[in-house]
């Protein structure tokens, strides 16, 4: 089939500004975006630049934005893109500066991955004598807990898709935090609490907006956001509860326990605000009151609220 593909190109080093070029090529029906790019480079323009290696969704080299979606060019078919969007537009990954065309400068990504100490620490990490005297065995349940996060191929698609990374460069992002969880969940690791503590502040797991963009983008079903949620859970269970994020969850549960539903009018008061913060929200609260949008601080519980309380109480404190 004859198709048209639009490619965003540019090279700051050579002073070539970002622009789009269209290429028309004759390709086999089930061709991938990557094979199309390789064909264009071979036949039409040898200067077209992009990263690729395995062509089999194993190495993670060819991540880019295809019709706005961050993913691997090697596991995306041109035909399905045409069916979904009626066009194929290819751009470099977001959040990182372009080196040339579709190749980006990866250091912002690796800086974040390195920041979470992506290796096993402690006794389990020591260089074993050779031949190995004993294996470091772990239960199946531990393997399952870190199985999703272990699948990451560091392709950067999730980081490119991350909505918080787009507005806040301090955020470590989905891949790095999923990697952190992989070691938090590793029973051999000696620094579990230290890891949870280190990521408890700004830029860490509480900054995720749970938009699921990373879950949707990941070509290996790592579900980075689920790993971030697990870090939050593990932090609270480890006693790291002096954060807004932690209080938000526990107070949310407390309000639902009491009323059966979330009373948004009570949540801000439950967050231990200082008087200055309260003064700041007063004008907004008054306007909401005028509009009939401010829920009363104490709402009558739903009918049969006892059933909800029983569900919450039963699981409270369990693992």
């Amino acid at each position: 089939m004859r198709i048209e593909i639009e490619i965003e190109r540019g090279c700051p080093e050579e002073g070539i500004e970002t622009h789009r070029e269209r290429f028309r090529v004759e390709v086999p029906r089930h061709v991938t975006v990557l094979d199309t790019l390789i064909q264009i480079k071979d036949e039409l323009d040898g200067s077209l630049t992009f990263r690729r290696s395995c062509r089999s969704a194993i190495c993670g080299s060819c991540a880019m934005r295809i019709n706005g979606r961050s993913g691997l060019a090697c596991d995306t078919q041109v035909e399905s893109e045409l069916r979904r969007f009626g066009r194929v537009v290819v751009q470099p990954l977001a959040q990182m500066p372009v080196t040339k065309d579709l190749a980006v400068e990866m250091s912002p990504f690796w800086k974040r991955v390195r920041a979470v100490k992506p290796w096993v620490t402690g006794e389990g990490a020591e260089e074993p004598a050779w031949p190995v005297a004993r294996e470091s065995l772990m239960d199946q349940i531990h393997v399952e807990e870190m199985d999703d996060a272990s699948r990451c191929i560091m392709c950067m698609a999730c980081f490119s898709a991350c909505e918080v990374a787009t507005v806040d460069e301090r955020f470590l992002g989905p891949a790095a935090l999923a990697k952190a969880y992989r070691f938090v969940a590793d029973p051999r690791d000696a620094e579990r609490t230290e890891r949870l503590t280190a990521l408890n502040g700004s830029g860490g797991y509480w900054d995720c907006t749970r938009c699921n963009q990373c879950v949707e983008a990941c070509p290996k079903d790592v579900k980075p956001m689920e790993a971030i949620v697990n870090l939050r859970r593990d932090a609270i269970r480890a006693g790291l509860t002096d954060t807004i994020g932690s209080r938000h969850i526990t107070e949310f549960i407390a309000i639902v326990h009491q009323e059966g539903r979330l009373n948004e009018g009570r949540m801000p008061l439950k967050m231990k605000p200082n008087p200055l913060d309260l003064a700041k929200v007063m004008p907004l609260a008054l306007r909401m009151l005028q509009k009939g949008k401010l829920p009363l601080p104490y709402h009558p519980p739903i009918p049969r609220v006892r059933e909800v309380r029983r569900i919450i109480d039963r699981k409270k404190g369990s693992t």
């Binding site: 949707e216 807004i244 969850i249 639902v256 948004e264 949540m267 949008k293 909800v308």
Partner: protein, 291 residues
């Protein structure tokens, strides 16, 4: 054809967004859709309870779905977040072992759930059950010339494994409804983005940047107003819009309508019956054209 649903309000429609409840009832009545409100239903957990206690959230939703099942009805939601959480619960509870585990939790808390009630958002109901052609027939006040930016919100689109109604990267349902009402959908990238509501307490500045970026993009593309199927998006885009204006250092003034408010306008319902006076950002520029 008479349509009847177990109506799951969720928390926002019963609290901070009463106009969503009002407009839902008004639109259902105008379309001849019968709603049986699940008054004893609880919060869905919003993904927040599930962060700490997965099975607690799942059990609460098994209990919610069981209430619809007892009525022999499918469940209609009006909140994108509720829909996302309930769709996930519905899928998880389709596994027999999981359902049995959760039924042990809810056996003495509202009875067991057999897995027979399907949660369905009002948006999906309009397209699948009412049908776009029938909706169009009911329009008495076509919203001609109105440019509407669809704002889907995350949980009605992602993760698509649990939802499978719209393409998460190129959804069409809101656009279809907007067109059926006689208005014109605005194409902008923010339509599938996050409103930032989940981090408004933790990282307000980031949340306001998300609100501001999405609203300004829609405005630049010519939107007169935005419509959203999620009241949590509505809260962030509407209630906090003033703060987003400060963060972006630009006035925005973008009216944000709940989905049934927009539908209701086209069906000829009175603005007051749709609670349009409750929206924080003035909706009168939209109303003035049609009411």
């Amino acid at each position: 054809m008479s349509l009847k649903y177990a109506y799951y309000t969720g928390c926002a429609a019963k609290g901070v967004c009463p106009e969503l409840h009002e407009s839902t009832l008004a639109v259902a009545k105008a379309l001849g859709v019968e709603l049986v409100e699940l008054t004893a239903s609880s919060c869905c957990g919003a993904g927040v309870i599930g962060e700490l206690e997965h099975d607690t959230q799942l059990a609460m939703n098994a209990r919610n779905l069981a209430q619809a099942e007892h009525l022999g009805l499918d469940m209609m939601t009006v909140c994108g977040t509720c829909q996302g959480v309930l769709s996930r619960a519905h899928k998880e509870l389709s596994d027999t072992a999981t359902r049995e585990r959760i039924n042990e939790v809810i056996a003495d808390a509202g009875g067991i759930y057999l897995g027979r009630a399907t949660p369905k958002h009002l948006l999906w109901m309009l397209i699948q059950d009412v049908g776009l052609a029938r909706l169009e027939q009911r329009v008495v006040r076509p919203l001609k010339g109105l440019k509407v930016g669809p704002f889907y919100g995350c949980y009605i689109l992602r993760p698509s494994d649990y939802l499978s109604f719209d393409d998460p990267y190129n959804p069409k349902s809101l656009e279809q409804v907007i067109r059926a009402l006689g208005a014109e959908p605005v194409d902008y990238s923010g339509r599938t983005k996050c409103c930032g509501f989940p981090i408004v307490l933790e990282q307000e500045q980031n949340a306001m940047r998300m609100v501001g970026t999405n609203l300004l993009e829609a405005q630049d593309k010519g939107a007169d107003c935005l419509v959203t199927p999620c009241p949590l998006c509505h809260m962030n885009l509407d209630i906090y819009q003033g703060r987003a204006e400060k963060e972006m250092q630009r006035p925005i003034g973008m009216p944000i309508l709940h989905l049934p408010q927009l539908v209701g306008l086209a069906l000829g319902l009175r603005p007051a019956a749709l609670g349009l006076q409750r929206n924080m950002v003035d909706t009168s520029p939209v109303i003035a054209q049609f009411a």
